[in-house]
């Protein structure tokens, strides 16, 4: 049952060199640089997003994920979910409005996988970039690189995936859309894909021995042709490639993975399955994990499984 958590709102990523990172996220992925703040963070947005920004790059001496934030429908819902999280046993921190420029109050807590998660109810809205909301044209001219249309989801690696699923389902109303179970080990859950929308995933988790690891931030493209075009750009600019272009078994998205200059993985993808609230959970068996992840190769890739920031 949905609980007023509406959609992904933002991701804050740590980068070793912010100028190199901007080239990746702005000129290659095609996000729009929006603003900077007095601690050196850079804010960007994808062109179809209504919010003023969705991706925040923070200069740091290590790579990885600071936090992912979801928007809730209103401030009453924010207060209600905060109380629910406290009742569930979470330590909930309140981050004052304005700490991220243009964002209202955020509440922050840690998932059992060690990842920092946030909820917020208000953020400045500047509308889609380059198109109006009255008689809008199909797309704006002047987009760069891969022309990513939205920040879509994150894949996170951590230990207590069942704990994260329980919290997200029961406290925040996420729906488990897809999962990977090890049938030979009492259906041990190896991966979980969760949604608050019709998308196949708004956030996903893969079991990993270390807490709080970041596998990738993903951005949506319109078509398979756009994924191939992204692959061309990856070669043109000699960007470290992880894998692709290929298709996933899980969610059936068409995808390519590559790394930002600090080693954080990015994905751009197109297509993919949809999920209504009455849809049953789609399950892949762990002994088919190769096909579940890379539908064409059908072979596990050590880097995809082990390389995280």
């Amino acid at each position: 049952m949905r609980k007023g958590v509406m959609r992904p709102g933002h991701v804050q990523i740590r980068v070793l060199d912010v100028e190199e990172a901007i080239v990746h996220y702005r000129d290659r992925l095609g996000l729009i640089e929006v603003q900077r703040d007095d601690v050196g963070r850079v804010y960007l947005k994808a062109w179809t997003e209504i919010d003023a920004w969705s991706v925040v790059l923070r200069p740091a001496d290590e790579a990885g994920l600071d936090f992912m934030g979801f928007k809730v429908v209103d401030s009453d819902t924010l207060a209600a979910r905060k109380q629910d999280l406290i009742d569930y046993g979470c330590e909930v921190e309140t981050v004052p409005a304005g700490e991220l420029k243009g964002c209202g109050e955020r509440i922050r807590f840690e998932l059992p996988t060690g990842h920092k998660f946030e909820l917020f109810a208000e953020k400045e809205q500047t509308g889609k970039w380059g198109v109006t909301d009255n008689n809008p044209e199909a797309w704006p001219e002047g987009l760069k690189g891969m022309r990513a249309s939205r920040f879509d989801h994150c894949l996170l690696y951590g230990d207590d995936v069942d704990g994260a699923v329980d919290l997200l389902q029961n406290v925040l109303g996420f729906q488990l859309a897809e999962q990977v179970l090890d049938r030979a080990a009492n259906d041990f859950r190896v991966a979980a894909f969760l949604t608050v929308s019709m998308k196949a995933h708004d956030v996903a988790f893969v079991r990993h021995p270390e807490k709080g690891k970041f596998h990738h931030a993903s951005f949506y493209l319109e078509s398979w042709n756009d994924v191939l075009r992204a692959a061309d750009l990856i070669s043109m600019h000699d960007i470290p490639l992880d894998i692709g272009p290929t298709r996933h078994g899980l969610t059936h998205g068409q995808t390519i993975y590559f790394f930002d200059p600090s080693g954080n993985r990015s994905e751009v993808f197109a297509g993919g399955d949809y999920t209504y609230p009455d849809h049953p959970v789609v399950t892949w068996d762990a002994d088919k994990l190769g096909k579940a992840i890379f539908y064409h190769d059908r072979e596990l890739n050590e880097n995809f499984l082990g390389v995280v920031t």
């Binding site: 790579a63 270390e210 807490k211 790394f259 080693g263 954080n264 880097n303 920031t309």
Partner: protein, 103 residues
Amino acid sequence: MKHTITVVDTGESFACADEQHLLQGMQTFRVGMAMLKVINVGCRGGGCGVCRIRVHDGEYEAKKMSRKHIPEEDQAQGLVLACRIYPKSDLSIEVLPLDIRKE
């Protein structure tokens, strides 16, 4: 200018130019020889830590790498990520095991 990178554990060696990081040197095509896979290749951006090595001998230039995997005191001891160093002389290196820290 090319330099010879020797892996002390295995005795294997490969050539690496000034402007290449060590993983690029390691992955260069060599006629009739299998691809050398002596160092793990990960993100190639100094973030993930899988290509951690120790440089025993030689000069190199290092770009910024994640302090989570290479704290300053380790770097002072010659520990580096192979994707972030550019040789300035022949190097002898040791490949280190994967560094998974449970927290």
